[in-house]
Assembly symmetry: C2
Homo-oligomer: 479 residues x 2
C-alpha cells in the first residue's frame, strides 16, 4: 500500500487518541453512549470527553473544549447540536485533530436551505483547517484491530477480511452484529452518512489498497462521484469481490433515501448496468447482503451450478427435498442426479426403504447412525457431478453425540469432510426451538469454513452470488 497516499486514513481507523464532543452523564444521549462504548472497548489510546458544563463524565475527567486537552488528540467523535458543529470543527483544526466523525444530523439530508448551508460551511472550515470529515449524520468508524467499537454499540469482534462501507449507520450496525453471530469478521467498517467530505469513492480507494481487506461490502443510497466509484470498483473487484446493496432501488425507496442522506435518486436500471460493468455483485436485501458476504468469507468458488442437498437425518426429509429442489431451481441452480458410482455406493450403506437415493438425498433411512451419515456426506462431497453441497437439519441434531458409544456429533463430521474437500459446504438450520444454541453452532462451523444459513432459498442465493462473481470476472478472478 502507498502509505503516503493513504496517510490521512491512519488516524481515522487507528487513532492514538479520541475526543468525544457532547459526552455527558445523560444515558439517553448518544454522547454518553459513544463514550461508554469506547470505554468498554479494547481501545488503548487516550479518551477525552469534551463538555463545557461538566468537570467529569462517567468518572472520567472532562474538558470544556478540545484545546484544553493537555495531550495530542488525533480523532474526534462529535455528538453536539448541529448549530454548534462549525465551532467544534474550528477548535479541532486549532488543536490539530486530523479527522472527525459527526453523528449530528440536520444538514443536507433535511432538504432545506439552512441544512445545506450548514453542511457547506463545515466542509469549508474543515478543508481550511486540514481536518477530514466522516459524516455528518453517521455513526462513523469501527476497527476491531484498533479496538474502536461501532459507535454506541459496545461490540468489537475479531479482526478479519471484510471492509464495509455504509451510508446507513443502522445497516452497518446490523451487519457488525450479524457478523459476530454468524462468522463475518471485519477489517474496517465505516458509516459515512451524508459523506460531505470523505465519500464512498474515498473509502473504496483505501480499502482497495488496504492489505487487511480482501472482500468489500457496501450499502449505498447515492454517490456524488459515481463515475469515480465505479471505475475504481471495476479495477478493485477483479481481486477483491465487491458486494453492493443499493438503498432506494424503487422510486419510493429513492425518495426515502433523499430524505435520509440527501442522496439523489438514479434509475435502478442505470445502477444495474453500471454495477454489472464494474463487476460488482448486486444484492437486494439486508439478508442477501449478509448471506453473500458470509459465503465469500468462507466458501471457495463452486466449479458450476450443480448443487446436492442432504436432509432428513433427524427424519422426514421428503418435503424438504421437494422444497429445496424448487428453491435451488428458482435461484438458477441445478440439482442433478448423482453419478451411478455414487448411487451404488450409497445403496451399499443406506437401507432402501424410506430413503430415496437421489439428489436431494433423504437420509432418514440412516436412522441417525453416524458412520452411515459420515460416509454418505463423503460420497456426496466427492461426486464429480456435484459442485456445492447443502446440508439441512434442525439445530439440535448438530451438537448431540449421535451414538452412546461415540462422542462425535454431526458438526464434527461436517468439519472433517469440509477439511478434506475443496467444494463449498453450506449448512441450513431453520429457526425453531433451542435458538439460544445457534450462535455457538455457527461459531464452531464457521471456524471450519462451513457457514450456516436459516433457509434453503437464502443459501441458494448465496451460492448463486458466488457464481455471479465468477460469471462477471471469468478467469481473471482466480489471479
Amino acid at each position: 500500500m502507498d502509505e503516503e497516499r493513504f496517510a490521512h486514513f491512519r488516524p481515522i481507523f487507528s487513532p492514538k487518541s479520541i475526543a468525544v464532543f457532547g459526552a455527558s452523564d445523560n444515558r439517553m444521549k448518544f454522547g454518553y453512549r459513544f463514550l461508554r462504548a469506547l470505554l468498554d472497548s479494547p481501545f488503548e489510546g487516550g479518551i477525552y470527553p469534551i463538555n463545557p458544563r461538566a468537570a467529569d463524565v462517567d468518572g472520567l475527567r472532562a474538558y470544556p473544549d478540545v484545546c484544553s486537552v493537555p495531550d495530542p488528540v488525533e480523532y474526534a467523535m462529535i455528538c453536539v447540536p448541529a448549530a454548534a458543529v462549525p465551532d467544534v470543527i474550528r477548535d479541532c483544526a486549532q488543536k490539530g485533530v486530523k479527522a472527525v466523525q459527526i453523528f449530528t444530523a440536520g444538514f443536507r439530508e433535511t432538504g432545506n436551505e439552512a441544512g445545506l448551508t450548514l453542511e457547506t460551511e463545515i466542509v469549508r472550515i474543515a478543508r481550511e483547517g486540514g481536518v477530514r470529515i466522516i459524516g455528518p449524520n453517521c455513526i462513523g468508524i469501527h476497527c476491531p484491530a484498533s479496538g474502536v467499537p461501532y459507535g454506541p454499540m459496545p461490540l468489537c469482534g475479531e479482526s478479519g477480511p471484510v471492509a464495509f462501507i455504509s451510508q446507513s449507520g443502522g445497516h452497518a450496525g446490523n451487519i457488525v452484529g450479524e457478523g459476530m453471530l454468524r462468522g463475518i469478521r471485519f477489517s474496517k467498517v465505516v458509516s459515512y452518512g451524508n459523506g460531505c467530505d470523505l465519500d464512498s469513492p474515498d473509502f473504496l480507494e483505501y480499502f482497495a489498497a488496504d492489505p487487511e481487506t480482501l472482500i468489500i461490502g457496501a450499502y449505498i443510497e447515492g454517490i456524488r462521484d459515481s463515475r469515480r466509484f465505479f471505475e475504481m470498483a471495476r479495477e478493485t473487484s477483479r481481486t477483491k469481490p465487491i458486494i453492493l446493496w443499493k438503498g432506494g432501488q424503487t422510486l419510493p425507496g429513492a425518495e426515502t433515501a433523499a430524505s435520509h442522506t440527501g442522496s439523489l435518486a438514479a434509475a435502478d436500471a442505470v445502477w444495474k448496468g453500471t454495477m454489472k460493468q464494474a463487476g460488482v455483485v448486486k444484492v437486494e436485501s439486508f439478508e442477501e447482503l449478509a448471506d453473500t458476504i458470509l459465503a465469500f468469507c468462507h466458501l471457495p468458488f463452486p466449479a458450476g451450478k450443480n448443487v446436492a442437498v442432504i436432509t432428513g437425518i433427524s427424519g422426514g426429509g421428503g418435503g424438504t427435498s421437494v422444497a429445496s429442489t424448487d428453491a435451488l431451481t428458482f435461484a438458477g441452480l441445478s440439482v442433478p442426479p448423482f453419478t451411478d458410482e455414487t448411487r451404488e455406493a450409497l445403496k451399499d450403506i443406506v437401507p432402501r426403504a424410506g430413503s430415496i437415493l437421489r439428489n436431494p438425498l433423504d437420509l432418514a433411512g440412516a436412522h441417525g447412525q453416524i458412520g452411515v451419515i459420515t460416509r454418505a456426506v463423503e460420497l456426496v462431497m466427492a461426486d464429480p457431478s456435484i459442485d456445492s453441497v447443502i446440508l439441512h437439519e434442525r439445530l439440535e441434531t448438530f451438537t448431540f453425540p449421535m451414538a452412546s458409544d461415540n462422542p462425535r456429533c454431526l458438526a464434527d463430521v461436517l468439519l472433517e469432510q469440509r477439511g478434506r474437500s475443496g467444494k463449498p459446504l453450506l449448512v441450513v438450520v431453520p429457526y425453531g426451538f433451542g435458538e439460544e444454541n445457534r450462535s455457538d453452532l455457527q461459531t464452531t462451523l464457521c471456524a471450519g469454513n462451513v457457514p450456516v444459513f436459516p433457509t434453503i432459498p437464502r443459501a441458494a442465493r448465496a451460492i448463486a452470488n458466488l457464481l455471479r462473481y465468477v460469471e462477471l470476472h471469468g478467469d481473471e478472478g482466480s489471479n
Copy 2:
C-alpha cells in the same frame, strides 16, 4: 356440520383408544417414538403397543396382535415393515379398528411395480374391512383438542382455528413447531403422504365443514382428483381462507415430488390458474406459508395497500426506512405520506432534527421517551391514509421498561394501541442477539393479535397475501 356424513373422521381426530404397531424399546425406531410421544401427551384414551416379540414396551403392557387387546381399539398407528402392513390391516379390520395411519414407506412412491401392487392391496383389504387409511408414507394426524401429539414429536400446543393438510410429514411438523413459537394454533393437522385412501379432497371437505376450523393451510405435491379438490376449494375459500403451498413448482421439483409421494407432475401454470379460480392464496416457500397463516390468524383484512413503517426507536432508523420502502414496493404495497394533520401532530411531539417526519417514521428523535412513542404510534395508527402499520425494532427494545419511573415497555404500548384500532399492526424483529427471548415476546404480542415477523420483506408478503384474498373474493369475503 353434517355429523353423519363426517362420522368416519371422529375416530381419526378424536379416537377413544390407539394401538401402536411396531412399538418397541429401541429408541432409534419410530415405533418407539410414536408411542413415547403419545404417552407424553395429554391424550387420555387407551394406548396399546402391539409387538409380537415383547411382553411390555416402555413399561406399558404390549400385545402380540391387535385382536388380543381386551378393550375396543378405534385408531392405529402403523410403524412395521411394508411387507407386514397387509396383515396388520386385516387384523385391524377383524378387531373393528375404524382407521389407521401408516408411517411405513415403500409403496407407490418407490415408482416400482412391487410398491404399487402393495399399495393397491392394502387399499383393497381396508375397503373390504371397513378401515380408512391415512398414508402410507406419512406422519398422520395431530389434534390438540384430543391431546394427540404430532407423530414422534412430543408437541401439543393449544387448540385454535387453523387446519393443516400436508403431503409432507416434515413440513407439517415444521408448521406445528413454528406455530408453537409464533402463535399459530391448530384445530387439526394431517400428514397424509401417498393418500392412498383418504386424500386431500377428503380432508378439505371435512375441514370446510368442521366448526373448529376457520383457516385452512396446505402443502400439496399432487392431487389425484384435483377437480374435486378445487371445486370444493372454490366453495370453501369464500368463508375459510385457504393458503396453499405447492411442492414441485419447478420441473426438477416436480420430479423430486414424484419420488417423494408418487405425485404426478402438473405444469405450474395450470396450478396457478386453477388456484386463482378457486380463490386460493398461493405461497412459494415454507416461510411465506407460515407468515401468511400467522397473518390470517391475527390480523383483520387491511382496507388497502397503504402501509406505514415505524422504526428507529433504539436509534438509527434511516437505513431501515429506505430498505422497508423498497421491500414494501417490491411486494406491490404503497408507503404513502402521512396526512398533514398527522405530520403537524407528530411535529408537536417529536424533535425535528434526527427524525424524519415522513413515512417510514424514524423515531430516533423520540430518544426512547415512552410517552412520545405511544402518541406517535397512536397518530400513525389513526392516520386515515394508512391501512396497515409495521413497527420494526430490535428484540431487546420491546421488553425493558423505557423509563426508570414507568414500568411500561414497548410491547405494552403496542398491545394497547392494537386493542384500540381495527387496523393490522405487525412487528418486525430481526434475528440477532438475545434470541432466547423471542418466543416469550412472540407469545405476548400474539395474545393481543400483534404477530411478529423476522424481516420486512416477509411482513410485506404477509400483508400482500391478506390483500390477495380480498382481491380474489371481493366483498363476498366479508359475508
